[in-house]
């Protein structure tokens, strides 16, 4: 791996770490605006994290080691995910370590651990949240996998960097499959990031909560890490979406200028994406928990159909 590769890799990680809370803040701000609330500041998430880190963390008296490990593991998984998703550049030394399938596996790993941690304390809410999270997961994972496969059918590869390069370099052809997979991806990423209409990120004490129900027992630095991980997950998903559907502007190997240029491009794209997400969250209502499987099954089917369309139209 080249020196430049190392640089871009480190930059990707740094961007993920720093930009993620900003992204969350941005989305929250927009949503508040669209709902005619007075919006929190853009940097609010940083303040929250800082405050949580300062606070001491209160553990349930019989919480096991697993419970304490989980935040770090989840944080680690998400960081790695952000590191292998081509955000700024496709010249990532880490990316051969994990391709699309491994990326999905990575998310699954994090999910499993957080659900286990939720069950660890043994509260009603925790186990309920864990079950729902797994329910969402077992439908969202294959759907995401299918979406990625759809792209990799085109690029004849499951390695993310290759996918992005081929997609970025192809002459501007219309892939009807991308219409289907795009919709599917949006649905999946809403579900994965615990957003309306599947889950509501900023409510407690709702019988329908999922993500919040799982992290109820966390506090202090553990909570901070989980929140940070969540925002990194959001960032990772947005970057995947951008990489799949708007792969332009991502730097190639040994192109330092492009690398410098890539950052602002990314920020712009993310900003737009965030606004869109806020729009969706505003315009759609949270659905009953029993509807969620149908919602996700639809996403899964859309992705599969997309795959079929790919094959039918003889792509790749």
């Amino acid at each position: 791996m080249s020196f430049l590769g190392l640089i871009s890799q480190l930059m990707a990680i740094a961007v993920a770490l720093l930009l993620a809370p900003l992204m969350t803040g941005w989305v929250n701000q927009w949503r508040a605006r669209l709902q005619n609330k007075s919006a929190p500041g853009l940097l609010q998430p940083y303040r929250v994290l800082h405050k949580l880190f300062i606070k001491e963390s209160v553990l349930a008296e019989h919480a096991s080691t697993l419970f304490r490990m989980t935040p770090y593991i989840v944080f680690g998984c998400m960081l790695l995910a952000c590191a292998i998703v081509p955000t700024l550049s496709t010249d990532l030394p880490l990316s051969p370590a994990a391709d699309a399938i491994a990326l999905v596996g990575l998310f699954a790993l994090a999910r499993v651990f957080i659900s286990l941690a939720a069950m660890d304390v043994g509260t009603a809410f925790g186990s309920l949240g864990a079950r729902r999270e797994m329910l969402v997961g077992f439908l969202a994972e294959p759907a995401l996998l299918m979406i990625l496969f759809c792209a990799s059918m085109i690029s004849r590869s499951t390695s993310l960097t290759t996918i992005v390069e081929t997609l970025a370099h192809r002459e501007l052809a219309i892939y009807p499959s991308f219409l289907l997979t795009g919709v599917a991806f949006t649905m999946v990423s809403l579900a994965e990031n615990a957003r309306v209409p599947v889950d509501n990120p900023d409510t407690h004490l709702e019988l329908t909560m999922i993500h919040e129900a799982m992290i109820l027992e966390y506090s202090g630095r553990h909570l901070a890490l989980l929140e940070w991980a969540a925002s990194m997950k959001l960032l990772a998903f947005s970057c995947i979406g951008l990489a799949l559907f708007f792969p332009w502007g991502v730097a190639e190997a040994n192109a330092p200028l492009a690398l410098l240029l890539a950052l602002p491009v990314l920020v712009v794209k993310l900003a737009v994406g965030g606004v869109l997400m806020a729009l969706i969250e505003t315009f759609s209502a949270k659905m009953r928990i029993f509807r969620v499987p149908e919602f996700l099954a639809t996403a899964f089917l859309l992705a599969v159909i997309g795959l079929l369309v790919n094959i039918l139209l003889g792509v790749g």
């Binding site: 994990a98 491994a102 997961g137 004849r156």
Partner: protein
């Protein structure tokens, strides 16, 4: 294939036979010391574990070295036992040795008083079982194969019946034995086809035969039927969820970890080695059956409320996945696409190895839990991670591997499998081209569901608060049990972290079976697992793990450095809800409920909903395997009816009997008159 073996290294085969002999002797020793539990536990089982290690070593070195043959002066006079140790058998020796080493060590600590059958007898059956499996893998003629096969069946049958006081266990044993025997008959007929009227039952001769497509297909279908019955493929799976829970846990581990694989070994042996022709629809058939089995198994395992049944159904699922892999490989090789065929085969074999390790690990852990708590129903467990950490943490590893999560063994297999299902474009038939990638979606769904199952399994048993008071003083696993489980854990982790080395072992097998392998594409990639080319797909578990661990560590250190590590213990908050009781946790049934709703058509369900005016309302739901009602019971009823009719022949009237003789005489005379 079956060229002249090099006389230099015949040591492997002899070594394997020595291990067999040793096991038999250990078994006999067990019978001699029939009731002396301590002796059997502390001396015999560890000894056999040692021999397992020997077998493992032999297998590893035999994979690379060429085939070895030998002839034992046993069996039928025209047909002594032919033995042959080729790469395929060697691979299975590795599997048997590796798993049984751990399980035997675990068993040394496991067996207590009051297992029904005296420990010495169990020891005998256990070791006869192991020995017969090794013989089976080494067998090179139909007779030796069948003898070993049926010996395996009936030693395992007695082990399943070990606790025969309980009627359910007797029924389970009966069902198991019956299905096994029906399958064996199928295999017998399959060999009957393969020997093609030459009266020569050696595999060498069978390889030499050129069967017509019709007979070849008959043989293949019979093989899938016969071996599938043992492997638990649909629709002959019914015995599996009954027999696995019935057996003592170490043996359930062996059944699920080794025996099911041995059945698949039979499929491999017949369809990839003995049959020279390959027809594309064989692959499709195998894939269809496999995936159907896998989906069925995983859906049923999510809704189980009993530890071992849950694991048993999950075994069905994994076997289905392996069968699907074999089917795909068969399909490719029928079209002469060697590289892809090798990829699919490697994936299936890899899954086989890792499943052997993590599933036997999980079964061992259930055994430990049952010993500690006396409970086998998930609804009465919970919170054991605090009282028995030595069981909980290994189980966690096993569960993660079973859920197919990186960086463990299960994921590598799943990854390879998905790769092979993904890159099928270029099959001559466009229909298949479309079909296969969609099947990849099914596989993704299945593995995600197995993740669901594993979270339920581990979470309900080990996490949360104990659902019964007595769980508080559950004792942890003993020394031997720990050793056994740790060995299996090591297996799972190594399979996860060193795929290239393992595939290096698998390469000779795929070379032999489909004439290609992954080794050359792996060469020079160091830690990077690259089935085809780096651009196409790559995966490096070690880097992956290091990445996660590094960020884990960094986060930990930084948080501690920049801020502090203060923690305070307090009662759980739970949204400030004051009256927390253990009953408020989600139950196993509750965990299965969403899946039950989504896949409702797959179950045969009966619900009792309470009316609003019930004094003490109760909600009861029972669900069963529909195949039981669509297949097994009708067959039984049919046999019953026929035998009733035939029974009418014999009503005790001597005049009628004389009439039979008379009519028979007349008929025979008429026949010969022509």
């Amino acid at each position: 294939m079956n060229g002249v073996p090099n006389p230099v290294a015949w040591v492997h085969l002899d070594g394997a036979l020595m291990v067999v002999l040793a096991w038999v002797l250990i078994g006999v020793a067990g019978v001699v010391a029939l009731k002396r539990l301590r002796f059997i536990a502390i001396v015999l089982f560890p000894m056999s574990g040692f021999f397992s290690l020997l077998l493992l070593a032999l297998g590893i070195s035999a994979v690379i070295s060429g085939p070895e043959v030998a002839i034992l002066p046993l069996g039928l006079p025209q047909l002594p036992f032919h033995l042959r140790l080729d790469s395929l058998s060697a691979l299975f020796l590795i599997l048997i040795g590796g798993v049984s080493a751990g399980v035997s060590a675990f068993a040394a600590g496991y067996f207590r008083k009051g297992e029904g059958t005296p420990p010495g007898l169990i020891c005998l059956e256990y070791h006869v079982f192991l020995a017969s499996i090794v013989m089976l893998v080494l067998a090179d003629d139909a007779y030796a194969f069948m003898v070993a096969w049926e010996t395996m069946a009936f030693s395992s049958f007695f082990l399943v019946m070990a606790n025969h006081r309980i009627p359910e266990i007797r029924n389970a044993g009966y069902l198991y034995m019956l299905v096994a025997h029906i399958g064996a008959l199928g295999i017998l007929l399959c060999f009957g086809v393969l020997q093609a009227n030459t009266g020569d039952y050696t595999f060498a001769n069978m390889r030499a035969q050129q069967l017509s497509p019709f007979w070849a297909s008959v043989a293949f279908v019979l093989a899938v039927f016969g071996f599938g019955a043992k492997a638990g493929l649909l629709p002959l799976h019914a015995w599996l969820p009954e027999a696995h829970p019935a057996a003592p846990s170490p043996f359930s581990a062996l059944m699920s970890g080794v025996m099911l694989k041995i059945a698949l070994y039979g499929v491999l042996r017949v369809s990839f080695d003995l049959l020279q022709t390959r027809i594309w629809w064989w692959g499709v058939l195998l894939m269809a059956v496999g995936l159907a089995t896998a989906l069925f198994g995983v859906v049923f395992s999510t809704v189980q409320v009993e530890m071992k049944r849950l694991l048993a159904y999950s075994s069905i699922e994994n076997v289905g996945l392996m069968a699907a892999g074999f089917g795909l490989s068969l399909l490719f090789s029928a079209y002469g696409m060697r590289a892809l065929s090798a990829l699919a085969l490697t994936a299936a074999l890899y899954h086989m190895l890792s499943h052997a390790f993590f599933k036997s690990l999980l079964f061992c852990s259930t055994g430990a839990v049952m010993h500690a708590t006396g409970e086998r129903s998930l609804g009465k467990l919970g919170g054991l991670i605090r009282t028995m950490p030595w069981v909980a943490w290994p189980t966690l590893v096993g569960a993660l591997a079973c859920a197919g999560l990186p960086p463990l063994g299960g994921f590598v297999a799943e990854w390879l499998l998905l790769q092979s299902f993904l890159f099928t474009t270029g099959l001559p038939s466009s229909f298949l081209n479309m079909l296969v990638p969609v099947l990849a979606a099914l596989i993704a769904l299945i593995s995600a569901l197995s993740g669901y199952t594993m979270v339920k399994y581990f979470g309900v048993i080990f996490l949360g608060q104990p659902r019964e008071e007595k769980l508080a003083q559950a004792h942890d696993a003993g020394t031997w049990e720990r050793i056994g489980m740790l060995w299996l854990v090591a297996g799972c982790v190594l399979l996860g972290l060193m795929p290239n080395q393992v595939i290096g072992l698998l390469d000779p097998v795929t070379q032999r079976l489909v004439g290609s392998g992954l080794a050359q594409s792996l060469a020079g990639n160091g830690w990077l697992l690259v089935p085809m080319s780096v651009e196409r797909a790559s995966y490096a578990p070690v880097i992956f793990l290091l990445g996660v661990l590094a960020s884990f560590g960094l986060a930990y250190l930084l948080v501690r450095r920049l801020y502090h590590g203060r923690t305070r213990r307090a009662p759980p908050w739970d949204c400030g809800y004051p009256w927390q009781t253990m009953r408020m946790q989600d139950t196993a049934e509750g965990f299965g409920q969403p899946i039950r709703q989504i896949f409702e058509p797959m179950f045969r369900m009966r619900r009792e909903l309470p009316t609003p005016f019930d004094a003490q309302p109760r909600y009861k739901v029972t669900f069963e395997d529909p195949l039981w009602y669509w297949l097994y019971l009708p067959i039984a009823a049919l046999v019953e009816r026929i035998s009733k009719v035939i029974g009418l022949l014999q009503q005790g009237r001597i005049a009628v009997y004389l009439m039979y003789s008379f009519v028979t005489l007349i008929v025979v005379l008429l026949v010969v008159k022509q």
